[in-house]
């Protein structure tokens, strides 16, 4: 039992570190987004290009796709090292992590030629268009429809919670092509050009005040049949491949943790409060539980094993943990805790800001409840929920 790299891992880490320190600045709070959105996107594109040319983009992809042909463990190591620098990676996470691998898995040779390299080089940004206003946890119940018209499909409907839609060039789009079969069987996946006529992107004004996500409206959008991924009606299977890739993305800490609230309590003179100390112990145990469980996953990866659905626990722990810490920090500040103005609020208002983010974290990428169902059904083997729509056609249910 140790926390050391194997000699091969250490060698790769050193190589990654050398490349990173040559090309990026060490992490400085606030520096990355100081130039605003447009500048951030330009920087992200530039960094993606440097990475791809250096052989560090998409480490697990095969070499013929422009990847490194490396291991998942190398990908994890790269992620750990890249996180120590001011690396603008966000805009490419979904495209290269989820969308383009789906194109590689189900697309034609022409698709691969046309899309993969440009995405890898940072020229094209991709988004994922699955969720809808009436289809969140039950995404297979989506309503956006595609109707065949000659060699084309005509798309009408609305997607929601699409990250990066406003700066994306392409998207993978899951739509209903047959309402007269049960919901999972009537879906089809397409590649969609986000810049074409009939695609309208509107930012969502989130409860947190910001607008990181979008609604996307499709009005008589035409997609050539040649841009279909997989057979008509096979869309759900294609989507599962996309979502499987989501699980391999290893998330970092989303906000203040036990250390930040302990530092705050010390500065505020409340560290000796017994009720606070009790909670602090619980937070430390949860944070360690999260971190050390990732170490166990990494150990499995390092041995060439594939992590399973048990990874769902990380997000359950993290999102609730963050919400609880922020809530306590605000209450510790008493009436003053309501202030979100950075000039006045303690700790640059990190607790107040994350307090308003936390509810979203408990929902995005699988709600607490869905993740618990996943653990119960796929790890513990408990029976599936009753699905009253299982044998019925989509049309009958809607």
């Amino acid at each position: 039992m140790d926390f050391n790299d194997t000699p091969e891992e250490a060698e790769f880490r050193a190589e990654a570190q050398a490349f990173l320190s040559q090309n990026l600045n060490a992490k400085t709070p606030g520096a990355l987004r100081s130039g605003g959105r447009e500048d951030f996107l330009a920087r992200a594109k530039a960094w993606q290009k440097i990475k791809a040319e250096g052989g560090f983009a998409q480490i697990t992809w095969p070499k013929e796709m422009g990847g490194r042909g490396g291991t998942v463990m190398q990908q994890v190591i790269w992620g750990q090292e890249e996180a120590k620098f001011d690396a603008p990676t966000g805009p490419f996470a979904i495209g290269l992590g989820m969308c383009v691998p789906t194109v590689i898995a189900f697309g034609s040779d022409e698709h691969k030629k046309k899309y993969v390299r440009k995405a890898l080089m940072g020229e094209d940004v991709w988004c994922q268009l699955f969720s809808e206003p009436a289809a969140g946890s039950d995404v297979a119940g989506l309503k956006t429809k595609a109707v065949k018209d000659g060699d084309e499909w005509v798309i009408n409907g609305q997607k929601v919670w699409t990250s990066g839609a406003h700066y994306s060039d392409y998207g993978i789009l899951l739509v209903r092509t047959d309402p007269n079969v049960p919901k999972h069987k009537g879906l089809t996946m397409f590649i969609v050009d986000m810049k074409q006529q009939g695609v309208e992107v509107r930012p969502i004004h989130q409860a947190s005040g910001g607008s990181e996500f979008n609604e996307v409206y499709f009005t008589d959008v035409r997609i050539p049949d040649s841009d279909r991924l997989g057979e008509p009606g096979m869309g759900w299977k294609v989507a599962l491949v996309t979502l499987m890739n989501e699980r391999l993305a290893v998330g970092g800490s989303p906000g203040p943790d036990w250390k930040e609230i302990m530092d705050y309590a010390r500065s505020a003179g409340t560290l000796s409060n017994q009720a606070f100390r009790d909670k602090l112990a619980d937070w430390y145990v949860a944070a360690q539980g999260y971190k050390l469980t990732k170490f166990r996953t990494q150990t499995a990866l390092s041995r060439g094993e594939t992590p399973g659905p048990e990874n769902a626990i990380g997000k359950i722990i993290n999102a609730n943990h963050l919400q609880d810490i922020c809530n306590s920090a605000i209450e510790m500040q008493d009436h003053f805790g309501i202030i979100v103005d950075k000039d006045e609020a303690p700790s640059d208002a990190i607790f107040q800001e994350s307090f308003m983010w936390a509810p979203g974290l408990r929902i995005a990428g699988g709600t607490d409840e869905i993740l618990k169902n996943i653990i119960a059904e796929r790890v513990l083997g408990l029976p599936q929920d009753v699905r009253v729509d299982k044998e019925k056609t989509f049309a009958e249910m809607n």
Partner: protein, 370 residues
């Protein structure tokens, strides 16, 4: 990154599990539960002694197998799964570890080989009354090499041959070793919530005592002993908590209500998912404790405390919600759920309650991040 047990250690775990599933069944646990005259299951104990597990972490020069702390952690988890009704923890986690930590060469040579071969059963006697034991509230005192006072409760105190006793020594505290079969020691069994592990009241009246470690250093030494034992107790708790989840899971799949298995209901599914999450948090923290213990890391105090807090919470939650999942059946004497509920509480308060360990944890973090 190699944050896991080795193949050899996993082999030991598998062998221990097979052995205990065959040799330490719930029927054997119940022999102790249902018979007030039984302090432990002697048949099970003799077989465990034969396996040499008591000496797993005792160096070969003191008669042990000289394997290591990670091996003892693996064994502890398996003993926890089967609710082994034997004084293993008292002898191996507390008594032997205390000797390894602070014993003189003479004490180690005299006692460790006998712990390893089972002819000495050790225990630790700290508590004298309700609440946390501190230097200021110990009444048992050491004077001219002998001790006088009363310790209650002492886990496995009625079957142990030797005890490490916390005593008042002048203005501070010391730890001493007492041979419980010598004159000046009277013992009486006492009923507890956990009848499958025996407990005693031990009265000392001028009993001969041998100092363990430096005079007056009792409290810091006790902290060190408890840090080491805490990791091992956490593995026992983890074993028990895992078993509770397995029991609840099996029952949820089999029990039918309203026309289907109750495990199809989200109220049950989410309860079991919560159990799983707590158990995994406990497992990861216990592994870190094991690493700190086996590598003599400076992080041991916070690692041990976190392991203990996480494991106490996991076993408590799993044991109470296992009963709940079983419904009325879970509240019967015949169904095993209550045995885990009882063991969970013993292991949570032995060597300090969760509140005590939370405070130790925060103090350690405070000292580090000053």
């Amino acid at each position: 990154m190699n944050f896991d047990f080795s193949d050899d250690q996993k082999f030991l775990r598998d062998e221990a599990r097979k052995f205990l599933e065959a040799q330490c069944t719930m029927a054997q646990v119940r022999e102790v539960l249902d018979d007030d005259s039984k302090s432990h299951n002697d048949g099970v104990w003799k077989k465990i002694v034969e396996m040499g597990w008591l000496g797993a972490a005792i160096p070969e020069e003191y008669g042990g197998l000289g394997l290591g702390m990670l091996e003892l952690c693996v064994i502890a988890e398996e003993l926890g799964r089967t609710l082994a009704p034997v004084p293993f923890g008292s002898s191996a986690y507390f008594f032997a570890e205390a000797l390894k930590l602070a014993g003189s060469e003479e004490q180690k040579l005299a006692l460790l080989p006998k712990v390893a071969d089972g002819s000495v059963i050790g225990c630790i006697a700290v508590s004298e009354g309700p609440g946390e034991t501190a230097a200021g509230n110990i009444a048992t005192r050491l004077k001219d090499g002998s001790i006088t006072g009363k310790k209650i409760p002492v886990t496995d105190g009625d079957i142990a041959t030797h005890a490490i006793v916390l005593v008042k020594d002048g203005s501070s505290a010391s730890l001493v070793i007492v041979d419980l079969n010598h004159s000046g020691v009277t013992r009486k069994s006492i009923k507890t919530l956990e009848p499958t592990r025996s407990h005693a009241v031990i009265s000392f009246d001028g009993a001969t005592a041998d100092l363990l470690g430096e005079a007056g250093n009792g409290m810091p030494l006790l902290d060190q002993i408890n840090d080491r034992a805490a990791v091992l107790l956490a593995f026992e708790q983890l074993g028990g908590a895992s078993r509770c989840l397995e029991m609840a899971n099996a029952y949820a799949k089999e029990r039918v209500a309203f026309g289907r298995a109750i495990g199809g209901n989200q109220a049950i599914k989410h309860k079991l998912a919560d159990m799983y999450v707590k158990n995994e948090v406990a497992r990861s923290n216990a592994y870190y404790g094991a690493w700190a213990l086996s590598s003599d890391a400076a992080e041991l105090p916070e690692a041990a405390a976190a392991a203990r807090v996480a494991a106490s919470e996991a076993f408590w939650y799993a044991s109470k919600e296992n009963i709940q999942t079983h419904g009325g059946m879970g509240f019967t004497w015949e169904v095993d759920c209550h045995l885990f509920y009882r063991r969970a509480k013993l292991l949570a308060v032995q060597a300090g309650s969760p509140a005590v360990w939370k405070e130790k944890l925060v103090s350690a973090l405070e000292a580090k991040n000053d």
